[in-house]
Point group: C2
Amino acid sequence: MLDAAVKVFSRRGFHAASMDEIAEDAGISKPMVYAYLGTKEELFVACLHREGTRMMQAIAGAAAPDLPADERLWRGLKAFFGFVGAHRDGWAVLYRQARGEQPFAGELATMRARLVEVVAGMLDHALRAEGREIAAVDLEVVAYALVGATESLADWLADHPEADPEKTATRMMNVAWLGAAQLLHGVTWRPPAD
Amino acid sequence: MLDAAVKVFSRRGFHAASMDEIAEDAGISKPMVYAYLGTKEELFVACLHREGTRMMQAIAGAAAPDLPADERLWRGLKAFFGFVGAHRDGWAVLYRQARGEQPFAGELATMRARLVEVVAGMLDHALRAEGREIAAVDLEVVAYALVGATESLADWLADHPEADPEKTATRMMNVAWLGAAQLLHGVTWRPPAD
DNA sequence: GAGCATACCTACTCGTGCGTAGGGTTACGC
DNA sequence: GCGTAACCCTACGCACGAGTAGGTATGCTC
């Protein structure tokens, strides 16, 4: 039943999706949808929640915290892109939708914040192992950028059905890890004096 | 008048924004809005278009094509974040909105495609100068990731009014350029055999 | 088989907001 | 002063879709 909702929401977008269509698609009638899952908003949140949880589990399951940073990142990315590849419409539109609609942006922001935190933690851990440190804000911003790049590639992946998730993950590693590794080794870029 | 529309669209989101509110905010009445700018969709597209054009101009004006790649990237980023910083609500919500709503996603995709193309062209140019080459797809994906990371930081910037655009641009360079530079020098990351 | 409950449906109400019809007001020509 | 034309407004029609009321069938208890 949630599956039907996810499908319709992704096909139409939150507003354009009608409860009638969801009901029809689920093979039941509208009052049933209301009985089981409440209002349209609640239904959407339920979808978002389920997909989000699944995704987080997929990632958390793959990236064990005792691995070295690059290995963790790689496995996390692989799991992430694998998940998106397997749930293309689920991801694409739930995610894109939720981003725009104020009532749900919060829910999503929390999810992203968790991811950012994980990535930032990972970087921080790796940095300390190298005997280095950077300001928490910088760390957060870098993590944010990495997460953003990843989300962006996920969008790309969702739009390119023929693309291979693992290959995409490799490409992401090429951008992200090589850059991050530099930072870890103390190499930084500075603006020209101009 | 477009200013009013942008303001309301960003405050409310596309659907929640009512034409009445836009009209009121612009200090005129609804039929006038229709007379000048047509339907709600057309109005939104007009907003999107204007903001997009302004942004592209800001970037294009800053990143002259005859500069070296890193310098171009840096100036482009500075211009971009500067623009976002100066038009926080304009950017944030128009952009986030357009992403989700199917009728406008295309418009936005075109804009992003132009950006990706520019970035990819830049990388390609730099690569050739080093006597190297990579597949066009890889190039596109890397460019896509960079653009995505940048957009993501733009979101972050829009949500943190106290943050400094130029500093954000520097942070972005730290992630993007150090990574990209590695690629340019032929350093790549490969997945472990496992 | 009568009484009852559970599961579900059809068919409605009602609010909301886009787009417009038709009327008032001011300025100008004659 | 009267016609008229440009301009802008108030006030409405209308469609659409969320949420619900009230009725119907199926199965279960005694």
